[in-house]
């Protein structure tokens, strides 16, 4: 297990290094000098040069890359070109919106998908199964931002149960904050729940054909007992991977959903930074998102290996 973990850790570090290099180069070769952009087209050359020096843009690119990566490793994300505040602080503020939103959505998606998938698998081939599968097929086809608009139309504009957008802030109390995240979380969760329910169903159907399920029934367990004690537990392994993968979809999806609900999260931060050419903010936020995804996948792999010893021998 230790050897496997170390091997995975090494590939994690390589992935992060390559990812940071890719992000840095994509952003750096972009046309448009931030200093020139901030000062406008009529700026004097020496003013631009002074600002470039102040922003640290005058040092060679490779040195800037090393400074950036080294800084991030120690929690220093640099200073925003536009706001002159530490990027780490800006990101931390926004994270208090985006992370709870992603987790909230993940929780909802799991709470919907598990019962739906188990229900469908237990009634395989019957009308109830067909109905669940039909609904999930539809759920996958619905763009989450459109679904979000429909939720606003119904629950905010017609029924007036929720606000149409904006974030109450955690200082107004957890209840108010969670309430303003509820519609966005539902919009994010539904398409993911549809996918997860289908995975849960097919994983369970695979397991139901196993010999140990027949053994469980033979030793006197009812269908329901066998399903829950042996079936669901074994089906969880593929389901866990998908949940790990969904984390990245939820992070990406939340960027668009934040636009629908005017939520002050990481997504809006990225869009603002892009339009003001605040490159350091763009780089750092994108790197943070990629970091989160790579680390979550790493943890899922480890959890996998811990549950199933056969996987450790394979790399």
């Amino acid at each position: 297990m230790l050897r496997y973990s170390l091997k995975r850790l090494a590939s994690l570090i390589v992935s992060l290094a390559v990812a940071s290099l890719v992000i840095f180069s994509v952003v750096e070769v972009a046309p448009g000098d931030p200093a020139r952009f901030m000062l406008g087209i009529n700026a004097q050359p020496d003013t631009v040069a002074a600002l470039r020096a102040e922003l640290g843009l005058d040092v060679p690119k490779w040195q800037r890359y090393l400074d950036w990566v080294g800084g991030m490793a120690t929690g220093d994300f640099g200073t925003s070109y536009t706001y002159r505040t530490p990027v780490a602080q800006m990101v931390a503020d926004r994270l208090w919106v985006s992370l709870p939103l992603a987790l909230y959505a993940l929780m909802l998606s799991t709470l919907i998908a598990f019962p739906a998938g188990i229900f469908a698998a237990a009634r395989r081939g019957r009308p109830a199964d067909a109905a669940v599968m039909g609904v999930t097929q539809l759920g996958i086809a619905i763009p989450n931002f459109w679904f979000a608009m429909m939720l606003v139309l119904i629950f905010a504009i017609k029924l007036r149960l929720f606000g149409a957008g904006g974030f109450a802030g955690w200082d107004k109390g957890a209840w108010a904050a969670m309430k303003s995240l509820t519609l966005p979380a539902v919009a994010l969760a539904l398409p993911q729940a549809a996918i997860l329910a289908r995975v849960m169903r097919s994983a369970l159907l695979d397991v139901l054909g196993e010999d140990y399920m027949r053994t469980a029934r033979a030793k006197g367990l009812s269908r329901r007992q066998a399903l829950w004690r042996h079936g669901v537990r074994n089906a969880l392994i593929p389901v866990l991977t998908i949940i790990g993968l969904q984390f990245s979809f939820l992070l990406a999806g939340s960027i668009i959903i934040e636009q629908v609900f005017y939520l002050p999260g990481l997504g809006r931060l990225v869009f603002q930074a892009i339009s003001s050419r605040d490159l350091i903010v763009v780089e750092s936020v994108v790197m943070l998102l990629v970091f989160a995804v790579i680390v979550v996948n790493f943890l899922v792999d480890l959890a996998y290996a811990a549950v199933d010893p056969r996987l450790r021998s394979r790399t």
Binding site: S11, V14, S15, V18, A19, I23, V26, V27, A30, P31, Q137, L138, I140, A141, I142, P143, F145, W146, M149, M150, V152, L153, I157, S248, F249, L251, A252, G253, I255, I256, Q259, V260, V270, F271, I274, V282, V286, L289, V290, V293, I294, N297
Partner: protein, 271 residues
């Protein structure tokens, strides 16, 4: 053929037909503004109503179908065009450094949240259909590389490949002449799925203003325009959304149906 396949093909053809017909005919000029007739709900003159500039929604949906299909199709083309050769090469040189590099590269691209990077690319290099195509296309490459490699690996163990080797054919020739024809079914099914994901991704990008630029109509931007008017003109949001859903649903059903239909094992089991 299953019901899924027929229903999926019917829905997909409907959208494809709308896109093709839009080249020669639309009820109105999709870009023509007609302020006196603005914000009409669906009626006999304007089947899907009109938007805030009085433009005919039906015409815009038809031309928007063109945009969606073009972006998603080319993105799938990029994914297949680069991914399939990479997958074939990795399988032919299984276990070599080439295989290792291709597969590690795949893992890396998979690790990026695709939409985040698509947003990064389109935002840094400018919004537009071409950059949207590239951004979506890049993430199709590892999908096709992986699926091709996986299928090709098991084929390399088969006797008819051994026979081709004995006959003196090179690995490259075997890959093209014997492996490729045997993975085509799989690629068609995956292509359909990626096509539907591409439609969704294009809609998302143009919704945040990073897809096709005005005056080219796109379903995603129609939704963005509709957002502030959803309280008094919900049809502006409903109709483009339904167009996306019909397209994606049709393609997914078709993909599922094709998989069942093209997979001889499932067909045999059903018969």
């Amino acid at each position: 053929m299953s019901r899924n396949l027929i229903l999926g093909a019917a829905l997909s053809s409907l959208i494809l037909a709308a896109a093709l017909i839009s080249f020669v005919w639309t009820p109105y000029d999709f870009a023509a503004m007609n302020i006196p007739e603005k914000l009409q709900t669906p009626n006999a003159r304007h089947w899907f109503g009109t938007d805030h500039f009085g433009r005919d929604m039906f015409s815009m949906i038809m031309v928007g179908a063109r945009t969606s299909i073009a972006v998603a199709l080319v993105a799938v083309g990029i994914g297949m065009g680069l991914g399939v050769p990479l997958g074939l090469a990795a399988a032919a040189r299984k276990g070599s450094w080439l295989d290792e590099v291709i597969m590690r590269g795949n893992d890396l691209v998979f690790a990026f949240p695709s939409l985040v990077i698509a947003i990064l690319i389109t935002a840094v290099y400018g919004a537009g259909a071409i950059n949207a195509i590239i951004a979506i296309g890049i993430f199709n490459i590892p999908v096709f590389a992986r699926i091709t490699r996986g299928a090709a690996l098991s084929l390399w163990e088969r006797e008819f490949i051994m026979a081709a080797r004995v006959a003196g054919k090179s690995d490259a020739r075997i890959s093209v002449e014997h492996i490729l024809p045997n993975v085509v079914n799989l690629l068609i099914v995956q292509g359909t799925i990626q096509f539907s994901l591409g439609i969704l991704a294009e809609a998302g990008l143009s919704y945040v203003g990073l897809g096709a630029q005005p005056p080219t109509p796109s379903w995603g931007r129609m939704l963005a325009d509709a957002q502030t008017m959803v309280s008094f003109a919900p049809h502006l949001a409903l109709i483009p959304g339904l167009a996306i859903i019909v397209t994606v649903l049709g393609l997914n059903l078709m993909g599922d149906g094709l998989r069942d239909w093209l997979d001889p094992r499932i067909r045999a089991a059903r018969a």
